[in-house]
């Protein structure tokens, strides 16, 4: 049996190997994704982000347990940074997810950011297709929200949860990092700490002050993930958001937008790949840049010229 056939029969081993194929862009992965896509049912994607130390993994631990208890078929993807110097990564988020009952079939996969910007968001989106096709109905994506890369992933989710903790003035950082705009639900974790109430208040004030892009009122939920406190309220808010998206038609609209973006991306990747393999093959680009630096050319004319050449099929 091929991996795909085993996948269709529900083999977790096959699912895992297929995810690796997809992550690595190995031979045949596009065709595989095309087939997998036909089997998707629109898995619900919850993105969870926040600075290191905010207790994201513990939150995922509790949320997934609750969801599994409600008989959802849950998958989790945890993303951690890959070292830009060595290419290696320490993926330790699973360590915090050991309360999830093992008999509920919750699937956890750790991914390294693997360096290339844009590549990670794409890989995540493709892995989501596999998980969707396998039959999971809820996906939690956990990532550290410290860069454009992570923001792209998070942006591709349906409900975005941002987790902060009282200690380090995170509220202000959140405002700066663009998390304010994309967050659908705020969590103040470790809410037994000093400063928690103040932080809840600060975030609520900041939310009130901005121009509301929609009529969803972003809630701020205090939690204590380690002690399993108020997680049910967090889940409730996530479900409320989902209900809102569905009722307002925004879920469909967002997904339409995301799909459009995805198709554009696919085209761009194919085109870029093709140009790289033909017109720009070899050291052409290096030579062009050398000329520009000598003052014998400029980026705009060079770009246009190479593009014309490509159009003519060379």
């Amino acid at each position: 049996m091929t991996l795909y056939e085993q996948f269709l029969e529900g083999s977790v081993v096959a699912l895992s190997k297929i995810i690796s194929h997809i992550e690595d862009n190995r031979d045949g992965y596009r065709e595989l994704l095309a087939r997998l896509y036909r089997r998707t049912s629109g898995i619900y994607r919850i993105g969870l982000t926040g600075p290191p130390g905010s207790g994201k993994s513990s939150l995922v631990n509790r949320l997934a347990t609750l969801l599994a208890g409600q008989n959802r078929k849950v998958a989790i993807v945890c993303i951690d940074p890959t070292s830009p110097f060595t290419g290696g990564a320490l993926l330790g988020d699973r360590l915090r997810m050991q309360d999830i009952p093992p008999d509920k079939g919750v699937y956890i996969r750790s991914m390294g950011s693997r360096g290339s910007s844009g590549g990670l968001a794409l890989a995540t989106s493709n892995v989501t297709v596999a998980l969707d096709a396998f039959g999971f109905d809820t996906l939690i994506i956990e990532t550290v929200g410290v860069g454009q890369m992570e923001l792209d992933i998070i942006d591709a989710c349906d409900t975005v949860v941002v987790a902060l903790v009282p200690e380090s003035g995170d509220a202000i950082q959140a405002l700066k990092a663009g998390l304010m705009e994309i967050s659908n639900v705020f969590v103040v974790n470790k809410a037994d700490r000093m400063g928690a109430d103040q932080m809840v208040y600060d975030i609520q004030s900041a939310l009130e002050m901005r121009v509301q892009p929609s009529d969803w009122e972003v809630p701020v939920v205090p939690t204590q993930a380690i002690n399993n406190k108020n997680i049910d309220r967090l889940l409730e808010e996530i479900q409320n958001h989902r209900a809102y998206l569905e009722a307002s038609g925004r879920l469909k609209a967002n997904r339409r937008q995301q799909l459009k973006h995805k198709v554009e991306q696919e085209i761009q990747r194919l085109v870029q790949g093709d140009i790289n393999a033909t017109t720009l093959a070899g050291a052409i680009l290096d030579d062009v840049v050398a000329d520009i630096m000598k003052g014998e050319d400029d980026p705009y004319s060079a770009g246009k010229r190479l593009y014309e050449r490509y159009k003519l099929g060379s």
Binding site: L3, S11, K17, L91, R109, R114
Partner: protein, 139 residues
């Protein structure tokens, strides 16, 4: 994209001494591997479930408590039962020579004795992972 070597590192059983396994985790990361570290006091079931979900090339286990003749075979059996027969099981710790021989006969890919240099372990893993046949047909 080059295929990364993915390794699961875990401590099964009750022993809590994680100095060695953490040094190896850091060395592996510096060698470019993706290291999934699942922590202390893992049951064989937890280790194998994680190994399968993460599609790792290898599982590395450290046992200093003398429980290796119970734990290694348990992990081997679960790997085989759950379709992970091709995942390399390796490890180290306080394991007498004759037990090393017995365990390697049972199917443990390699056991390292105390003092083994991380460079040696990394080299071994690179070769062993490359030698794994990944001949599953995709479609």
């Amino acid at each position: 994209m080059s295929e990364k070597i993915r390794v699961l590192l875990a401590k099964p059983g009750l022993d809590g001494h994680d100095r060695g396994i953490k040094v190896i985790a850091a060395a592996f990361r510096d060698a470019g591997f993706e290291v999934i570290y699942t922590g202390l006091r893992q049951t064989p079931e937890q280790i194998v479930t994680a190994a399968i979900q993460e599609d790792v090339d290898a599982v590395g286990v450290s046992i200093l408590s003398g429980a290796h003749m119970t734990l290694f075979p348990a992990i081997l059996k679960l790997l085989r039962d759950q379709g992970g027969r091709d995942i390399l099981l390796f490890g180290g710790g306080i394991i007498p020579d004759e037990d090393i021989v017995a365990l390697e006969k049972m199917g443990v890919a390699k056991l390292f004795t105390p003092g083994a240099a991380t460079t040696v372990i990394i080299e071994w893993l690179k070769q062993a992972a490359a030698a794994r046949t990944k001949d599953d047909k995709l479609l």
